[in-house]
Structure formats: C-alpha cells, structure tokens
C-alpha cells in the first residue's frame, strides 16, 4: 500500500518474507533532495520473560486492517514533520531469534525530523497496529502482554 501526500512518499508493507535494509535505503537515496534517513529495525530477541530459550515468535495480524492502521500512523507523522519518505515493513508469521520484525525508514532534508518521526511511528506501531505476538518455548507458549507504559507513552506525542 502506498501514496504520496504533499511530496512525501509513504509505503507500507505487511509480509512474511524478510526485507533488505540496504536495498530499501538505496531506493530512498535515489531521490537527491534527501538529507538524512533514520532507520529503526526491530529484531526478535530472547525476551528473558521465561527461563527457557525462545524457540520462535509468532506474529498474528488482522489482514486488511493492519496495512490501513499503519498507513494512518504514517499519515499522522507526515502531518507533524516535513518528510520526503516514510517506509514501514512489518513482518508477520513465525520468526526466530535474530530475525527482522519491523523496519521503519523516514527521510527528510534534516536529521531531527527523521529521528523524531521514526520514533513516533514505532511508538504507535506498538499499540495501534493490529498485531499480536506469541512466544513459543519448548514446553509451552504464551501471548505477549501489552505494556501499560507503551500506551501511556502515546500521550507524550
């Protein structure tokens, strides 16, 4: 899903397959007005919530709504900061420790707008994108619970 609003190109993908950060950055850099690109990559980790080692992380989502919800977050970011590009790729399905989960790239003429908007998008993805994580261990599985602080942090924006 993609669109251009006031010279800002926004692209959102929800996919099972991995993404290549370098090739995504290269695509953005082909536009010569960019002064800086902020890049956040979320990675599957052993959360340490359990004594056992994580076998896999399953990401369930709401097909149809997920991309729209992420696009709304990006539109909000575009309104707040002067951006040229926003790229979000969110993976779903079964992932393993060290795998990429999410990529947020924001590009602007100046660094501050890129940094701020990438952080804003990540904060909202946490509790506004219809995605649910389940941790699988050798002996059991458990749904990741949302954190109250993730909800409260949204009030700061």
């Amino acid at each position: 899903m993609h669109q251009t609003i006031k010279k800002c190109y926004i692209s959102v993908n929800v996919q099972k397959v991995d993404f290549d950060i370098n090739s995504e950055i290269k695509k953005i850099k082909s536009n010569k007005i960019i002064g800086g690109i902020a890049n956040f990559t979320g990675v599957v980790r052993n959360s340490g919530r359990e004594k056992e080692e994580l076998v896999s992380l399953e990401l369930e989502h709401y097909p149809g709504m997920t991309e729209k919800a992420i696009m709304l977050i990006c539109e909000d970011a575009q309104k707040r900061w002067n951006l040229n590009f926003i790229k979000v790729i969110h993976r779903v399905g079964r992932l393993f420790a060290g795998d990429n989960i999410v990529l947020v790239l924001t590009a602007s003429a100046h660094r501050k707008e890129a940094f701020k908007s990438a952080e804003f998008i990540m904060d909202f993805l946490k509790s506004r994108a219809p995605i649910w994580k389940k941790e699988h261990y050798r002996t059991h599985s458990s749904w990741v619970q949302s954190k109250e602080e993730d909800e409260l942090i949204l009030n700061d924006w």
Binding site: E60, Y62, M122, K126, R128, P130, W132, S146
Partner: protein, 82 residues
C-alpha cells in the same frame, strides 16, 4: 455479519471468524447476545477491560457505537505490534 477474533480471544472461542445473524444494534449488545448464546463467549469476554474492538476495521473506544450497517466486527486483546 462477520465477527472476527484474534490472539487468545480466537483461541478461547475456537474459530478465527464466524458469520452470524445479529439482532444487536451496538457493540455492547452484541457482546451480551454472544454471551447468551454459549458459555465459551462468557469465558472469552470475562475480562471485558482487556477487550478491544474494531468495527469495519476501525478501532472504537465506546461500546455504544452502532453496528447496524457494519459488515464486520473484530474482538481482540490489546495489540503488541512493532
């Protein structure tokens, strides 16, 4: 109307979605209508504060929102994306 369930709510109800003839006019009434149908809904909706709702793929905060012309209603726990 299509009713969808995600995460542990889907597991408790046992299906990812179902097509239901609905009489209720609001989200709140729909939850009551489901609970009256089967004990599994009562268990799933037990902790109502941890239930989030989307009507036609838009998150709603107020359970009094009308679902008269809705095509789909989704129930799920708080999201854990990112």
């Amino acid at each position: 109307m299509k009713i969808l369930y995600f995460s542990w709510l889907r597991e408790k109800i046992g299906v990812p979605f179902e097509e239901v003839e609905v009489r209720s006019e609001t989200v709140g009434d729909l939850i009551k209508e489901l609970i009256n149908q089967d004990h599994k809904y009562e268990l799933a909706f037990e902790d109502i504060k941890s239930i989030r709702v989307a009507v036609d793929q838009k998150i709603i905060q107020d359970f009094n929102v009308s679902i008269k012309n809705a095509r789909e209603v989704a129930f799920f726990p708080p999201m854990t994306g990112g």
